[in-house]
């Protein structure tokens, strides 16, 4: 377990900033105003990045490397080419700080959770002035986050789209907890 290097930190923040707005800085802000207040940090175990409280990370150093499976929230992993890939486990953090959102109708939830992209017919609502090719968090109509993706078209363009046209390209959905159960946390 080790902290991130400068390059890795930059790559990670660039990825997160695709989905979040200015509130991203709250991610690493200390929990209180006290001088030695606890704060969240990023730690790398093998190639996976975890978002964890500093106090917990310090405690975790007493666990042998082989025995430590996971600590904190897994945000994603670094590929061999040093790109960062967000996992579905990062959804609570992204949903809390999301900049662009799309709400899918009840009839569109299942196709999305089975790994499909979001088509125009299934879009219930969408953030106004969403540009094309930016990260977007997907919600059900009752404001439950169910995944995230990348907008295929701007919101203005998608209004004129035919019902079968793709509005959001899926990147991760909650169905992965079942589909990728064996590779999501290890391997």
């Amino acid at each position: 377990m080790r902290p991130l290097t400068e390059q890795e930190t930059k790559i990670l923040f660039e990825k997160l900033a695709n989905y979040t707005g200015n509130s991203l800085k709250d991610l690493i802000a200390p929990l209180s105003d006290a001088p030695n207040a606890d704060r969240y940090v990023f730690r790398v175990i093998k190639d996976r990045v975890y978002y964890v409280l500093l106090s917990i990370a310090n405690l975790a150093t007493s666990v042998a490397r082989d025995n430590l499976a996971s600590v904190g929230i897994c945000l994603g992993k670094f590929t061999k080419t040093l790109k960062f890939r967000l996992h579905i486990t990062a959804l609570p953090i992204l949903a809390a700080h999301a900049r662009y959102k799309v709400w899918v109708k009840p009839n569109g939830t299942q196709p999305f959770l089975y790994g499909g992209h979001i088509v125009k017919a299934h879009v219930g609502r969408m953030t106004d002035e969403t540009p094309a090719n930016v990260g977007i968090v997907v919600y059900e109509m009752n404001d439950t986050a169910i995944g995230f993706g990348v907008s295929a078209r701007s919101s203005a363009e998608s209004r004129k789209l035919d019902p079968t046209g793709i509005v959001v390209f899926r990147q991760a959905d909650c169905g992965e907890y079942l589909r990728d159960e064996d590779t999501l946390f290890a391997g």
Binding site: R2, P3, L4, T5, E6, T9, K10, F13, E14, A17, N18, N22, L24, K25, I28, P30, R39, V41, E129, P131, A132, N133, V134, S154, A156
Partner: protein
């Protein structure tokens, strides 16, 4: 530069050992052009040698000591390859970023970049939307113009027809009506011979 005078020196390293100041052997420097730092230290200091001729002579005789860089030896021709040598005095391994300040700095930089990117994207999208809107408005205007023109022509045609139908007994002074009448009359006269009639008065 070739030597001006040919001399035979049996042992060039023992050249300074003659002990005579100002002699040829004491004046001569090393023959191979490359002077090592070590060799200079071993020999007597140049100021001592130059006592006989003065300071100017000493300066003239001071040989330049070349470093490896100045000699222009190809870099690849070294004992250690270029990529293998590591800078000295630098920390080995990765440099971690774990303090709050540097993390915040990196985050601020990244966010500023992203903001700019998204802003430019939105501006571009807005401009494109404006262009599309203008194009659509122009197309609509053209369509309406074309339609009104078509309606006008239709109306004019309708009026003409009405006028011609309202005055059928005039003999048809309108071009079209007259033409048709002529054609009908001529057609009847030429194609069919007159029927014989019998009238009972």
């Amino acid at each position: 530069m070739p030597p001006s005078k040919t001399r035979t020196v049996k042992n060039k390293h023992a050249a300074n050992k003659s002990g005579i100041q100002g002699s040829k052997s004491s004046k001569s420097g090393p023959q191979d052009g490359i002077v090592k730092q070590k060799a200079r230290k071993q020999g007597p200091p140049p100021s001592k040698q130059a006592k006989g001729r003065g300071a100017a002579g000493a300066l003239k005789r001071k040989k330049k000591i070349y470093t490896e860089k100045e000699l222009g030896i190809p870099e690849l021709n070294m004992v250690t390859p270029v990529g293998v040598t590591k800078p000295k005095g630098k920390k080995k391994g990765k440099v971690f970023v774990d303090d709050k300040e540097s993390m915040t700095t990196i985050l601020a930089m990244v966010q500023a970049d992203k903001e700019g990117e998204i802003e430019s994207k939105m501006i571009k999208a807005r401009q494109m939307e404006e262009i599309r809107e203008a194009r659509r408005a122009e197309e609509e205007r053209n369509n309406s113009e074309r339609k009104s023109k078509l309606d006008e022509t239709k109306d004019s045609l309708r009026k003409k027809r009405k006028r011609s139908s309202s005055r059928p007994s005039d003999g048809g002074d309108d071009g079209e009506g007259a033409g048709i009448k002529d054609a009908v009359s001529s057609g009847t006269s030429t194609a069919r011979p007159k029927k014989k009639r019998v009238s009972f008065a």
